[in-house]
């Protein structure tokens, strides 16, 4: 078996271009048969929110996502893997997170992307704070028990 791919991990304030990220994984290659992308976007919760503010732990955010991505690259035969997570203020409709998994066949790409997102939710050091549309101070988003459960099914 060939060596596992080295995942691309970026933590950034700015937006990302999904098509450009796919193209950079597949450009010049003829061995990739499947690319699965997941993008997570900011919702307005029926008009209640004007933005989410994402706080993160600089250094650990990169390190932890790299650990999770490295585990995915060992578990599934991937030819490419990109994970991007934004921090700072994100408005409804804007991107928050991107996972792109490329493989010869779809199953590995689907599963790796799914695994990545489940682990990002419960282990990547990011916290969302709500900003309300009416200008009132919002609170911190509560962690969901269902996210912990989703991560534990990969054990």
């Amino acid at each position: 078996m060939s060596a596992a791919v080295v995942p691309v991990v970026r933590i950034q304030a700015g937006d990302f271009d999904v098509a450009a990220e796919i193209a950079s994984l597949t450009r010049g290659r003829a061995d990739i048969g499947a690319v699965v992308t997941f993008s997570g976007l900011c919702r307005d919760e029926a008009g209640r929110l004007s933005a989410l503010e994402l706080e993160h732990y600089p250094g650990m955010a990169e390190a932890e996502i790299a650990r999770i991505a490295g585990e995915a690259a060992e578990r599934w035969p991937l030819q490419g893997l990109t994970v991007i997570h934004r921090h700072g203020k994100v408005r409804p409709g804007e991107n928050i997170v991107l996972v792109v998994a490329a493989s010869a066949h779809r199953q590995a790409a689907f599963e790796a992307a799914n695994f990545l997102m489940d682990y990002l939710k419960s282990r990547a050091p990011f916290w969302k704070k709500e900003h309300h549309g009416d200008g009132s101070q919002g609170g911190w988003v509560d962690a969901k028990e269902s996210d912990d459960k989703a991560a534990s099914r990969w054990k």
Partner: protein
């Protein structure tokens, strides 16, 4: 040797500072000991660490359990359950 403590999200807001360097007293050997000691340092700490079980901890930027020993830690971060993704 002093240890850097870093706080995030509502733990940071309740304690009222993003980080501080502390000299850990003798007897503070595990993460659980650290949380207990911090909680006794004042109202703001008491408020932030009222339910220590929900507090997540990272030593030198890696997740650890509350029973983990903290000897040799340069940087210990305390934060609520994560809500990224």
């Amino acid at each position: 040797m002093s240890t850097r403590l870093i706080y995030f999200a509502w733990v940071r807001e309740r304690i009222g500072k993003p980080q501080e360097d502390v000299e850990l007293p003798g007897g503070v050997e595990t993460v659980a000991d650290l949380l207990r000691w911090l909680k006794s340092r004042g109202e703001e700490y008491e408020h932030a660490l009222q339910y220590p079980d929900v507090i997540r901890v990272a030593i030198n930027q890696e997740h650890v359990e509350h029973r983990e020993k903290i000897s040799g830690a340069r940087e210990i971060a305390l934060f609520p359950p994560m809500t990224g993704g």
